[in-house]
């Protein structure tokens, strides 16, 4: 009995993997049906549907980068404290002192790469006309994922609490001030007056809601931290599940009808 047999020929192994190695046709089918991670895939696919010159591998790359962000992000959360007192120094320590502080580099470059990968994925889906029926709704889900990816990146941009962070968020959030109707400098806001009291002020407008203050401050840091680490990732996870499920239900990877 070889060592390989000794490892696989016992009750523990067989309770995890319920069939032999996928070396013949039957087991190659079975492995796709019995493995939780592989069951995302169909048993068989069109050959051109998986050609790199067709798919560019950008949807998969996006998902891979999302997983990288989750793993490195959780590791960073063990270390980083989102308070004015600690935030900047924690990042400084990640750079200079902390073992495996490179997680921050992986997280930041992975985030940039993910934004680019999402764009390229959508670009490919457009160029191949893959948003057309029956995949219209999945394109809508994908657009929402694009928006959430940008918001994830945007909220994460603040967390290092350096000049780059605070002013990028300031520039970005100044737009909210100009939202029609609900921004203090937006058209129409000055018309919303109740008994002579303006409803939309710099303490009650869209920018205030976004920043939890009139300017970027500690409450903004806390708010963006929660959005970045909990709220948006949960929403993204839900939408990714729907997105993948619909890829299967809408006929798999697109191809000529």
């Amino acid at each position: 009995m070889s060592i390989a047999d000794k490892i696989t020929d016992n009750q523990i192994w067989k309770s995890v993997f319920r069939h032999p190695m996928p070396t013949d046709r039957r087991n190659r089918v079975v492995v796709m049906l019995t493995n939780f991670f592989l069951h995302l895939h169909p048993v068989s696919v069109r050959r051109q549907g998986i050609a790199l010159s067709y798919t560019w591998c950008m949807g998969g790359t996006t998902f891979f980068l999302f997983l990288v962000e989750v793993v490195t992000g959780v590791l960073l959360m063990f270390y980083y404290r989102p308070t004015l007192e600690h935030a900047y120094n924690d990042i400084l320590n990640l750079r200079d002192v902390t073992t495996l502080g490179i997680m921050r580099e992986l997280h930041r470059w992975g985030a940039h790469a993910m934004v680019i990968a999402v764009w390229l994925h959508m670009y490919r889906v457009f160029l191949t006309g893959s948003y057309k029926p029956p995949r219209e709704f999945n394109w809508v889900v994908g657009t929402l994922l694009l928006v959430l990816t940008l918001l994830l990146s945007f909220t994460g941009y603040l967390l290092p609490w350096d000049q780059l962070a605070i002013w990028a968020i300031t520039v970005g959030s100044n737009m909210a001030r100009a939202t029609p109707g609900v921004g203090v400098e937006g058209p129409g806001a000055s018309l919303l007056v109740l008994n002579g009291v303006p409803l939309i002020t710099s303490f009650s407008d869209a920018k205030f809601a976004m920043l939890s203050g009139r300017s970027v401050g500690e409450m903004t840091l806390n708010r963006f931290y929660v959005l970045h680490c909990v709220a948006i990732p949960l929403a993204v996870s839900l939408l990714i599940m729907i997105h993948f499920w619909r890829v299967r239900k809408d006929g798999g990877i697109s191809g000529p009808m």
Binding site: Y54, L150, L164, P187, P256
Partner: protein, 519 residues
Amino acid sequence: MNHHPDLTPGVMAGLSWFFLISAILNACAAAYISYGELVSEGASRDGLGPKTRRMPNWLRGSTWLFYGLGGIFLIISMKMSFWFLSIGSMILAIFSAADAAFFAEHDAEHSDRQPSLNDHQPAIGIGGPLNRAIVTGVWSLSTMVFAVMGMTYSLGAEYAMPQLFRDAIDGASGATSFFTIATLAFIAMIVFRKFFANGITAWAGLNLSLLFFGLSMTDYDFRDIVTKPDNVPIIGLIYLVAFFTWLGLRRAVINDARMAIGLPNLEELGSEKTLTWPDLVYTELIALVIGTVALILWAIALQAPLEQPASSTQAPNPSKAPWYFLGLQEMLVYFDPWMAGVVLPTFIVIGTMAMPYIDTNKAGNGYYTIRQRMFAYATFQYGFLVLWVVLILLGTFLRGPNWNFFGPYEYWDIHKLEPLNNVNLSDIFWIQWLRQSRPSAILIRELPGILLTLGYFAILPGLMYVVFFKKYVAESGIIRYSVLAMLLLFMASLPIKMVLRWTINLKYIVAIPEYFFNI
């Protein structure tokens, strides 16, 4: 005006490696053209190929030897590694070209064989055969140029992009010319797509961009902006978007040509089923490994930026949003925040989501094509490439303090003054045309602009319907057309406002600052 040295030892070392990598790329291209499979993308299934010529064993051996030694010495001595790789590339390029030329000559004497191995036979739709010897010769020459540039930098020669050239580019560049050239280039790409889809054209473009980029890095001010850590991904974005645009264009051109002569398109060629395990699963595993390695190397090579601690009193100049929003920030030049920051982004998102519902063209589902969906293809690509990516590049690399425009080699002078004599439409109408003061009643004062805006959104859809969209409305209905027309008009409003700014210095069409309502 240079405040800092253009060339430092570190820059020269970096440039020598940059040009070496360019040389290696070209040596590989020369060898590929000389010996590799020259017909692709479905051609082998059409009986056109593949045709390969055997690489001589000694050349194969020398390439492995020099590149292998170069790889090993990477750890021991970078200098040695550099020379091994340089010499190996030059040998590979020279003899690939010589071999191709020899066979071309040999073939010219025995021209009875058809088709000839010396004809570079591109895929269907990409144009006629090209002379293998000439193409190999040109890439071989490029290898020499890049290798010599790399070696001279390595030996300590100090040369930079000529100041005259830099001044000419700085002088010619401006927001106007940058955007106009991008738009014209886009139109040229669509019109002459057959030319651009050719691999030879694309490779020549890559070589030119590498040369331009490498020489530009000798300029301190260019380098200062481009090597900001957060800007590095955007350099990657340029090359990735360019490559995938080319790939999509090429596949579409080939498909269009194939379908025109009744052949199945490339996607139909591979419609047989294959098992997910092992084909797809292994591809995913390899992609996973490559992605992980690439990301780790990137993380080791480039440190994430960390500037001074946040200070709400010291605003940096320029203050920029994260790079992916810089296209929107650039729109602030032409629109008020409520338009550039809220309304137009909302329309971008809604319009993107609406696309599958307003694009009722059934053709082009699941394969690359331009001819069958020209309007959708060109509109989307213009929006993505020019109105999104090009504006991001403009906002990132060419906008300096006070959001002034700076040429790529220009020092970001915080005191640079640009005359701003922008006027509102109401000024033009009442003061310049009617030669009277503006009426005090807001609505009357702004009546010309309001009428113009209402007319834009109310009359143009009707005109567009009569001229272009009768068939579309008959097929898809008035509701879809209304949405499409609104989205198109909002999209067009950006270039329109740009042109109005550049030509008549127009600031606002409707200017009611009393209620923050400026268009």
